[in-house]
Amino acid sequence: MTKITMTVNGRQMSGEAEGRTLLVDFLRGTLGLTGTHVGCDTGQCGACVVHVNGDAVKSCNMLAMEAEGAEVSTIEGQAAADGSLNAIQAAFQQYHGLQCGFCTPGMVMSAAALLKENPKPSEAEVRKYLSGNLCRCTGYHNIVRAIMAASGQDVSAIAAE
């Protein structure tokens, strides 16, 4: 076991990890941040997406030790300090972009990464960017609407499901 330290949602956090410990297991098990989920363990579902030094990564595909000294953001750090939802989270609620909520943390983190690099994505661009995030409840439609609405675009032309 080795002690590793990273900045998670703006706070420096440390814990013990084995060489094989995945970043997602370190976040969930060691740091207790269970908002990041494991749906498949094989890099397909995207429920474990977090940001590492600003980039969206699937935290089940990264070793905890690779994040030593990194800036990590997770779903727990997305709302404001007073608990109010950020624009993406609020749009997910308003446009019913979630049902069971299991994929939602990964969806929100992927959406945040998308809007950072492409502030006004087209519907096709949103769908392409989300190809690594699976959802079994919504059929994706309302997730796409939520993300486009969060980017300040008019989604009334995108038919409601």
Binding site: E18, R20, R28, L33, T34, G35, T36, H37, V38, G39, C40, D41, C45, A47, T74, I75, E76, Q78, A79, G83, L85, Q89, F92, Q93, Q94, H96, L98, C100, G101, F102, C103, T104, P105, V108, L134, C135, R136, C137, S156, A160
Partner: protein, 217 residues
């Protein structure tokens, strides 16, 4: 557009805020005192005979509480098919037994062979790797057409063939169907392949169980 009020109105869901902030409480988020973990040894071949299973070394590893194999479930019954289908000729489908852990044979890649219960998930996974499984690989079929050929290796030796059922609504309307096809201006014949259909939720890898006098898994 949805209405703003009354019946049919879209209303914000109360549970959304916790799901959107990472504060949901899903199965794998639950931790109780004394909780144990299970990991499975799964088949890496599509079809094989289990000639031997040595769990002694695995059982002696740190943290291992119990190892289960198919032998522990003999006579217990298996997983029943939840939807019994009658085929297009009115015959019931062939339903083979589905043991919870493989007995005698493995029938697909990922077929569970043994379950290791340990104090931590890492210990359970380590012990899975220490199980010595002597599996004799048998010929396999990996597409539907080949599976139905005469003499194809059978997935379940005790069934008459690999056909579970032939389903459709053609027989009950045979004459009309034949007539429609006969009189059609153009008939297209094509081979349709469907992928494996599995209705699983996203949260599928986790179970939480508790039994009297035993640690939670």
């Amino acid at each position: 557009m949805p209405m703003d009020g009354g019946i049919g109105a879209a209303t914000p869901r109360r549970e959304d805020v916790r799901f959107l902030t990472g504060a949901g409480n899903y199965t794998d988020d639950i931790n109780v005192h004394g909780q144990a973990y299970v990991a499975f040894l799964r088949s890496d071949v599509a079809h094989g005979r289990i000639n031997g299973l040595d769990t002694a070394a695995a059982a002696a590893m740190p943290g291992v509480i119990r190892i289960f194999t198919g032998a522990d479930f003999e006579g217990v019954g298996g997983l029943p098919c939840g939807w019994q289908v009658t085929d297009r000729h009115g015959q019931p489908m062939q339903e083979p037994p589905h043991p919870v852990l493989a007995q005698g044979k493995v029938r697909h890649v990922g077929d569970p062979i043994a379950a290791v219960v340990a104090e931590t998930l890492e210990q359970a996974k380590d012990a899975v790797e220490a199980i010595e499984a002597d599996i004799e690989e048998l010929p396999a079929v990996v597409d539907m057409k080949t599976a139905l050929e005469e003499g194809a290796p059978k997935v379940h030796d005790d069934l008459t063939s690999n056909l579970c059922y032939d389903w459709g609504f053609v027989e009950e309307n045979r004459e009309a169907v034949d007539k429609a096809i006969r009189e059609a201006a153009h008939v297209t014949t094509l081979e349709l392949k469907n992928q494996r259909l599995v209705a699983n939720p996203m949260e599928l890898a986790w179970r939480w169980a508790i039994t009297a006098g035993a640690p939670a898994i």
